[in-house]
């Protein structure tokens, strides 16, 4: 079954087709969530919300206007941003997962850093830096779009990106 056929079937609410589409993209979608959010619990929450949006709105997807990959990834990014703006962390949040990732990184030379370790580095950035870095560097948004998405000025977006890069460089220097 091709992707076009799968999408067509998913539009008819066929659970099997939705499941196959999910299996195809789950790793990519979840990687996005892990880049934007601290900890796998938040990332799974964001992914769940994104799945609801993707399969509820799949009827509006038009293959002529872009790929399913790009369309669905944008939904996942938006869901992550929603959680970043105001997310239930409980009354006291301790991010044990991230601390663990950083410890793992401490023994990795730069050229051997894996995607997982780099993702952990990004997710350890402060929220604003993390969001801007992800949007600009990895998801291809420009500063004007980022400013609209996050409700900040373009200048703030640029300075946040600058700070994010600087922070990542420092962390990488420490690691190598």
């Amino acid at each position: 079954m091709t992707e076009v056929q799968l999408i067509k079937a998913a539009k008819k609410n066929q659970r099997k087709a939705q499941s196959v589409l999910y299996d195809t993209y789950k790793r990519k979608w979840f990687s996005i969530c892990l880049r934007y959010l601290k900890g796998s619990t938040d990332a799974e929450d964001a992914l769940q919300n994104a799945l609801v949006k993707i399969f509820s709105n799949i009827k509006t997807f038009d293959a002529k206007r872009g790929s399913f990959n790009a369309w669905s990834s944008r939904i996942v990014v938006n869901e992550c941003l929603m959680l970043l703006r105001g997310r239930i962390h409980g009354f006291k949040h301790v991010d044990i997962d991230n601390q663990q990732h950083l410890e793992d990184l401490s023994e990795s030379p730069l050229d051997r850093l894996s995607a997982r370790e780099l993702t952990a580095l990004i997710s350890a950035l402060p929220t604003g830096y993390r969001a801007v870095f992800n949007l600009y560097v990895l998801d291809g948004y420009n500063h004007r779009e980022i400013a609209e998405q996050l409700g900040i000025t373009e200048g703030t977006s640029k300075s946040q990106l600058f700070k994010a890069r600087r922070m990542l460089m420092e962390k990488l220097e420490v690691l190598i």
């Binding site: 990687s31 409980g90 949040h93 409700g151």
Partner: protein
Amino acid sequence: MSSEETNNNLDDFFRSRLSEQGDEAWNLPSDRVFEAAMAQIDQRRKRRWFFWLILLGLSLGIAGFVYWSLDTIQGLEHEVSQLKQAQIEIPEDALSIGGDSPVQESASSAMDEQGAITSSTSKPITKDIVSNLDIETKLPVYSQTPSSTYILTTEADRSTTSLQEITNDIEPAENGHFANSIEDDPPLKTKLVDAIPSPALSAKPVKANDKVVGGSDSSSSKSQSRLYLIAGSNWSSLSMTANDPLPENLKEYDNWYLGYQYGLGLSRVKGHVTYFAELSLSQTVNRSVFKDQAVYSKQNEFMNSNGDPIYATDLDFDSPVLPFSQEVSFEASGKNLNEGDTMDSKMSIENTFHLISLDVGLQYSIWSKGKSRISALASAGLNVISELEQDVHLDLYRSESLIGQERSDLNTTSLYNRWVPSVQLGLSYQYQFKDFELSFRTTYGSSLRSIREVDPNTQVKTQMQLIRTNLALAYRL
């Protein structure tokens, strides 16, 4: 290497490495995610049906109310035209003392089946015609038109004398004339005069085609519909509850704050009871303060382009609307901060809700005197959060001196379109003018559903309480 090249290299490095997804398990979500999402979609479908069902029910209810009101208004107008207006034209010469002219009734072309008569074509009054009028008369009132015709109107609630009773003595007409004129028939004359109270004898000139409404005081009407505008203030408070004790560092969240409300409504008065439905827009405000401590960690320090250390971290806070993280950053130089030092944080959040409310209810008149009335009222409503603005102020202190602060305005979309049912109880004072009614109303209400999404673990819920004080100007339809 220029800084731009460095940036590009860094960006490319991350892009290339992160494009490799690999086949490890770290970026695989747990199996429950897909199942939970599908369950949520199914639930949403059910909820959507329920929503449309409620909307349909409300629409039908409002449509029925409007139809009923309009129907009743039409019925009232009809009733008024039947029972309060009967015009009988009598040629002046027919009433002239000693005249021989026949008494004629001017029967209306618009005479309806109940016998309402307006002047138009003249017909001789016969006993049959008068009998067919079926007027439970009620008090005849004489008026004199400029064209010297007399209009006999009936007025409800003043007399029970039946016109038929009076006219029983009239002999059948022959060739369009009464056998006897009023003057020639003392018993009839006496009865007519007896039936007409002296104040009504003051002949009032009206135009021939004027709509003459006897007893036009519409306050005699027992059932009325009104369209009204409301405007006023909202005092609101958010109260939080949870299975466990609420965090001690959450302060001042349950105070009362001022907002506003405006809208329009439709009401129907029937005796002591008034039914109403109203649509309103309101703004409610809530402020909360969250005080906490954060520990300084060198891990969150980095150097800016000038080589100065910058401290940046996320702090987690709670509010009655939702918990969230706020980033704060400040220049660390000169602050004398070391690893493990504690900083006091104070987060002030102002939540501004915009609500669209649809309320239906009834009020019962418990006291009335003259044009004044006091009523008790109860209503139920559906409120939808159309917008939620959050104004966040975060201050960070070290030994009571401010070391960092952040200000941000957010539009929190996660609660948009959340439906919150509510109930209200209150008192209303109304003052009646001719066609208008001014009322002052104060109500206390509470939401029946948590404003914030309930945390399944902590069961933290937030109920909104509202004290509304409104002025309403109603126009009688």
